[in-house]
Symmetry: C2
Subunit: 255 residues, 2 copies
């Protein structure tokens, strides 16, 4: 399946599309340079919440990608913006690496904000969150991705812990990153582009393509990263195109 | 709400009904003695999988309860029975305290069996389970309880981790303990009693009362342990009676 696109802006997922871990995917650096040379507006949308945005930016630069810090939109910063805008007192349950970027937790919190703690997820921390949810606090989750691609294979993403807390506490989390529509809408608003004039490139059927689709944005699914056979035959989530990798996606856009 | 019962056998949940942690609930020792003196057949059904059955038995005796080791039916032993009967090669992800009772894990497992690891749940172990599930192994879970009552309040039960793995791996667990019908049916078969001639006493609306209901066994919900206001007004799970505690449940049975 292939298609042609004539967008004004391109939204690009990072892990699994441009890189895996600390390595650029083959051809991705060159393809991004070609896409940028075409003059299209770009935004990089990531649900990765184990790394602060400045480190993420430096890491991408080190791999050879040309981008500006302001072009990266993270689920963690989206959570911080929401918490500040609503004047909430958060308990941040986040990876130690992004704790400083999020700021201090409140002594007497009125919202539990969950990020991807990776190996730092522990029973006592999850039980602390559970008890606050049972006391009636709302749950904000930076993402609810099921899994992601690591150098040695697919790994459990934070969605498992969101689903677990939702199940035990009988609540529904508000997601600040993909696939939440406001996350995509914030990118479109900053770029001044309508949904139909943008296109998204991602490797996550549910959270990239499904989220974009719900926001009215055509999605190009790449067969790298966490892509698994069958992802291109979902009954409800329909990518506008399915291509082998980021280079092929760029080819479908700039021809 | 109260009712009268004339059962031939009584199935009794342990934690939250007879005791909390290491302490017998008020009146429970005496009420069990009265129930036993009535001559009714008894079975104790527990989803607790942090404690081996012999230690659990000794603990209950130490609190003053009169019971026989063979009267206790645990979700962990039900899992072991299933694994052996089907000649499966298990990876046991269980609390260290019950590891010896379950036996060795296989080097090349064909089923993942999850128990309540409590504070021993870690990201690396959950990720190991996740990867095996993504490779197509089935998931067996000893229980999927949402929470349980500890001395200092409600705590997250293993259901959160079952729900999380199910979500991320896109699978459904087979539960060996409550509320699985075979768990209740095994107790009835051993006692030689029909479902309608038994009654269950429990504090968990979904897993005790709902499970019993699905197996055709009337359930008495007690307002101790994990009971929370509203549990007695569920749209689908209808206890045959809701009473203050185990003593009141025994009174409704033996009058």
């Amino acid at each position: 399946m292939a298609a042609n696109f004539s967008p004004k802006a391109v939204l690009i997922d990072l892990a699994g599309v441009l890189h895996t871990g600390d390595e650029a995917l083959p051809g991705a650096v060159l393809a991004l340079a070609r896409l940028r040379a075409s003059g299209l507006a770009l935004r990089f949308l990531t649900n990765t919440t184990r790394t602060p945005s400045n480190i993420l930016f430096a890491k991408l630069q080190r791999m050879g990608f040309t981008l500006a810090a302001g072009e990266i939109q993270t689920a963690a910063l989206a959570a911080r913006t929401l918490v500040r805008r609503r004047r909430l007192k958060p308990l941040w349950l986040v990876h130690p690496d992004i704790a400083a970027e999020m700021g201090d937790s409140a002594v007497d919190p009125d919202v539990v904000v969950l990020g991807d703690m990776g190996e730092h997820f522990t029973y006592p921390l999850l039980n602390r969150a559970f008890r606050l949810l049972m006391d009636g606090l709302p749950l904000m989750a930076m993402a609810r991705n099921r899994y992601f691609m690591e150098a040695d294979g697919l790994s459990l993403d934070m969605g498992a812990f969101v689903a677990g807390l939702e199940y035990s506490a009988g609540v529904s989390a508000e997601v600040t990153g993909k696939p939440a529509a406001p996350f995509f809408e914030a990118a479109l608003a900053e770029l001044g582009v309508a949904a139909a004039d943008a296109v998204l490139i991602g490797d996550d059927l549910a959270d990239d393509i499904g989220g974009a689709q719900a926001a009215g944005i055509p999605g190009i699914l790449v067969r790298t990263g966490k892509f698994r056979p069958g992802d291109d035959a979902h009954p409800e989530i329909r990518p506008a195109a399915v291509v082998d990798n980021f280079t092929a996606a760029v080819n479908a856009i700039i021809r």
